[in-house]
Symmetry: C2
Subunit: 138 residues, 2 copies
């Protein structure tokens, strides 16, 4: 992988997840994600729209781009699997991701509300296996 792509995937920039919706149309949603061991990992509540759509058609894309010019852009296209994420692993994953995006202090505040007294319940993990990763500057 282009090291500039890996660098951009490591920055706390919201990812843009593309998938085919249950209506057959492409959809794009901003998501928190983590790039780990070559996969793009996204947490989701159980039964959410994106998880249901991806369980039906796992083809997906994730793009990350900077807000200002020159736009640095990384575009991942690949196959997503939707896995059950038991409560304990879910708390670990969402904690890591919230702190990645919000920092330690605001991340902890977020998690306090999110975790509903420590019992957010099970969730889902969307695991996107890249087939192609492109980096470009626009």
């Amino acid at each position: 992988m282009d090291p500039r792509a890996a660098d951009l995937l490591g920055r706390p920039i919201v990812g843009q997840l593309g998938f085919v919706g249950l209506d057959g149309y492409p959809h794009v949603l901003p998501v928190w994600f983590e790039h780990r061991d070559g996969d793009v990992l996204i947490g989701s509540p159980a039964g959410a729209y994106k998880g249901r759509a991806l369980a039906r058609d796992g083809r997906a894309a994730l793009s990350v781009s900077t807000v200002e010019r020159p736009y640095l852009i990384v575009s991942v296209v690949g196959d997503a699997a939707v896995e059950r994420l038991p409560e304990k692993e879910r708390i670990e994953f969402i904690s890591a991701v919230a702190i990645r995006y919000l920092g330690e202090v605001k991340g902890r505040e977020y998690l306090e509300v999110w975790s509903r007294g420590g019992h957010p319940g099970d969730g889902e993990l969307i695991r996107l296996r890249p087939r192609k990763i492109n980096f470009y500057v626009s």
Copy 2:
């Protein structure tokens, strides 16, 4: 349309265009756009990948979201047509869009380079007709 959706589409935030690529996979690309008369308009060089893909399958999405929490998100899903954009109209459109995103001074600087001495040639206009516009806060 929810007035908060119209407001967000009017801000100079890069849009995230979702479409089905020539490989059959969803793709997401950051684009400058303008929301005009109910349509989402995107300029493109002639023969670019997104235009070729959308000419084959016009189903598309465009999302806009704020960079910081609370994330305000507008998601447009609809049908795109790819129209030829003659040089004169192309210059007008790209000028409006560059100034919308970069402001008057930086927009003019951008256009100076972009227009290749006033003759950028013909291009394409991607016209996305919304079927559904959703606004939400995350």
